[in-house]
């Protein structure tokens, strides 16, 4: 049994802050187990050594923002049996997708002294808009336990346990008091994908929606309630949905609906 070849894992970085890769490094106690079970073939945050493909599992962090990356992702896909995107950038375009709502050329001309050196796409887009993705792990950053769960699930040939219900379920099961009902704080929890362990509500903050939209999110009903009962302005609602996962379709549509009004 021990002669079995260890699966090769590669980590790839696109436009991102590296936070999701760091989640993997953050698995201090478990990392040894991971190294025992798999060969880490490519992991820029951990080592410079690059083992040649093909790879059994590729974890892709970051979004596609440049023409060069739009090509590179296809190479990654070709070299990978299983491609898993990790984090909000890779699954929804990330915070940098806020540019998608504005004129990028204008940004460039304002920010950079020599705009000619900048080669960028108009939009920051998720990996799934470019290549086939086998599994998407949500979060900004991803939850390290969920990351281990996904790797473990793929190694053991089972379905990962990363349910797509709301953050509310995590809040309630932790016994956290609802910040919307008890404090009147607008919270994206009811439309946001679980996985963070209800981090913000546990500290009496409203959910920022880092994990993106949950299954069948009813964003409109929520934003109406914010407006009518919690006194939120249109601007408040646009800002709430234009966060980490602004470009995920249900959130994007909701913010755009208020922009048009």
């Amino acid at each position: 049994m021990k002669t079995k070849r260890k699966p090769k894992l590669a980590v790839w970085k696109f436009a991102s802050c590296d936070g999701c890769q760091l989640s993997l490094l953050d698995c201090e106690d478990e990392l040894l187990d991971v190294v025992g079970e798999i060969d880490i073939a490519n992991f820029p945050e951990a080592s410079r050594a690059v083992v040649k493909g093909p790879y059994d599992i590729s974890l892709v962090e970051g979004s596609i923002t440049t023409p060069k990356d739009a090509e590179r992702i296809h190479k990654v896909r070709r070299a990978s049996k299983v491609l898993i995107t990790i984090g909000a950038c890779a699954t929804a375009g990330g915070i940098q997708a806020l540019r998608n709502f504005q004129d990028v050329d204008q940004f460039i001309s304002i920010v950079y002294a020599s705009p000619d050196y900048i080669s960028t796409l108009n939009k920051s887009t998720p990996i799934s808009e470019h290549v086939k993705v086998d599994y998407e792990l949500r979060g900004c950053p991803v939850n390290k336990y969920q990351l281990l769960e996904v790797i473990s699930a793929f190694l053991n040939g089972r379905r990962p346990v990363t349910p797509s219900h709301s953050v509310c379920m995590e809040c309630k099961q932790k016994g956290v008091v609802c910040v919307m009902v008890a404090h009147g704080t607008p919270c994206l929890g009811p439309v946001t994908h679980a996985g963070c362990g209800a981090l913000c509500p546990s500290y009496a903050r409203g959910c920022f929606g880092c994990f993106g939209p949950k299954e069948t999110p009813n964003t409109h009903s929520l934003s109406e309630w914010w407006q009518e009962e919690l006194g939120a302005s249109k601007g408040d609602i646009i800002r709430a949905f234009r966060g980490i996962t602004a470009y995920a379709e249900p959130f994007r549509k909701e913010s755009e609906a208020y922009e048009l009004q």
Partner: protein
């Protein structure tokens, strides 16, 4: 008639719950004795208890929860012979993670078993009557134990009819047994497929079309149906057209199941729990739910 209700009753455990261990959520290890491919995506697993040789008694139509170590658990109907309780037989279609993992199990591998659960086919009520069995696709598997039972006590029943519809000739389950049954003079077996190439010499058409061409006494027959919900709906419709009253029709229902003992709530179908009130229902018990969308 040689076989009477009382004899048959002795053979069937009347209370499946009595044989369960203390914690019904803990799977018992069973060993794979044989894995037999049936069609491209369907296979049969023969299991035996790994830690004892206590017989595994069940009623035709009951199901087990099968667990693959580290992968997960799924409900699967028992498809073996109730008179051979040493061999626990399941026919499984590889469509999800767990069932695909089962397809790769080798002889000697261990799977977890919880069960048997649920209410089975009315093989006792059907005595002295004609029996019309209508199966679609993998739906033949849960009906096979009923057929074994009925054929073993053949004299206790009237006419026995098996109508079976599959997708293509390659998708027909238990071909050898079907041929054997078709060769019997005391039962009528009709097999049809939805689509076929020219080298198929059997029926082509939906299984419901076989009903008007079959001879049974609708007022004095019990129908047992298992297949996809749409197939069952149209089978019921054809049986009704043939003059069969609703209370003589039995169907086997399917819903998501996690616990199989009425605790998890997943398999609710109106007020029914498919896992313990079913999976087999007399049609009149669920008639008012059958047509409701998203119920």
């Amino acid at each position: 008639m040689e076989t009477l209700v009382s004899d048959v009753k002795q053979e069937l455990p009347t209370d499946s719950m009595a044989v369960l261990t203390a914690d019904p959520m803990i799977p018992e290890p069973f060993r794979v004795v044989q894995r037999k491919p049936e069609t491209e995506d369907t296979f049969t697993l023969v299991l035996e208890r790994a830690q004892s040789d206590r017989p595994f008694e069940f009623q035709p139509g009951q199901f087990n929860m099968l667990y693959v170590f580290g992968v997960g658990e799924v409900p699967i109907s028992i498809s073996g012979d109730p008179a051979q309780p040493q061999r626990l037989v399941h026919t499984i279609r590889a469509v999800g993670t767990v069932t695909r993992a089962m397809q790769k199990l080798r002889k000697g591998a261990i799977v977890g078993v919880r069960g048997p659960f649920g209410r089975g086919w009315p093989v006792l009520e059907a005595q002295q009557q004609d029996v019309v069995i209508v199966a679609g696709g993998i739906g033949l598997a849960p009906l096979r134990p009923a057929l074994y039972h009925i054929l073993r006590h053949r004299d206790a029943y009237g006419r026995v009819v098996l109508l079976y519809g599959a997708r293509t000739p390659e998708d027909i389950l238990y071909i050898k047994e079907l041929e054997k049954w078709r060769g019997r003079f005391d039962m009528e077996v009709k097999v049809t497929v939805d689509r076929a190439l020219g080298d198929w010499h059997g029926h082509v058409g939906v299984v419901t079309q076989l009903i008007p061409k079959t001879s049974f006494d609708p007022q004095n027959a019990i129908a047992m149906i298992c297949g996809p919900e749409i197939m069952m709906r149209f089978t019921i419709y054809e049986l009704q057209r043939s003059g069969m009253p609703n209370d003589r029709i039995y169907v086997s229902m399917e819903r998501n199941m996690k616990c199989a003992i009425g605790f998890c709530g997943h398999c609710q179908y109106g007020p029914k729990f498919i896992c313990k009130d079913g999976p087999v229902f007399r049609y009149t018990e669920i008639e008012n739910l059958f047509g409701i969308r998203e119920i």
